[in-house]
Amino acid sequence: MIRNIIRKNEWFARRKYTGWGFTPVCWQGWVYVFVAIAPFILLTSFGEVNQTRIVLIVIWAIVVGIDFVDIMIHLPKDERDRIHEAIAERNALWTIITVLAIGVGYQAASGVVEGTLKVDPVILAAIFAGLLAKIVSNVYLDKKD
């Protein structure tokens, strides 16, 4: 709803070289991000943080979170951008999985040596969640095309 009324997708671009997410590409984008973040600064900088303020911060976080996800989904991208993004994200994912697998292997091996099982459940959950995302994506794409 906010899209195309008070902000334009063209104000932002996919972050390519400095992590994930989006970055403003013009002054309007920077103003929008500043205005979006300003309530949080105002709510946390002055006076005592009470229950009302915490509720307002939570509401602010939900609204800004939804809006930022909407920006990510609707970033202007042509077919070449999409291919580049897919390949870059795949490479990033393979690297992350390799590091996580080495971590799980190291934890399992050191656990065996010490006679305990101490594989980090968060790492296993991350790998499992990624697997689920891959399955869902492939099912969706197979049905779609």
Binding site: D78, E79, R80, D81
Partner: protein
């Protein structure tokens, strides 16, 4: 894939920016296409052919 995009674009005095905006891609994509570094989808190839006022896709895009 080789293209004659630059040739036909110059013939009708169209800038890369204008062509990019007409077919809905970035100028960078047009540059990559003109330098034969990117193979477009059939859909984009058709749109470019039409924007360059050509009838046949083979006149603009050629397999090496």
């Amino acid at each position: 894939m080789e293209t004659k995009i630059a040739y036909f674009r110059n013939k009708i005095s169209m800038t890369q920016e204008e062509l990019a905006s007409k077919v809905g891609v970035t100028r960078q994509t047009i540059i990559s296409l003109e330098q034969n570094r990117y193979n477009p989808s059939l859909y984009l190839a058709y749109k470019i052919t039409k924007s360059l006022q050509q009838k046949n896709i083979e006149d603009v895009f050629m397999l090496k």
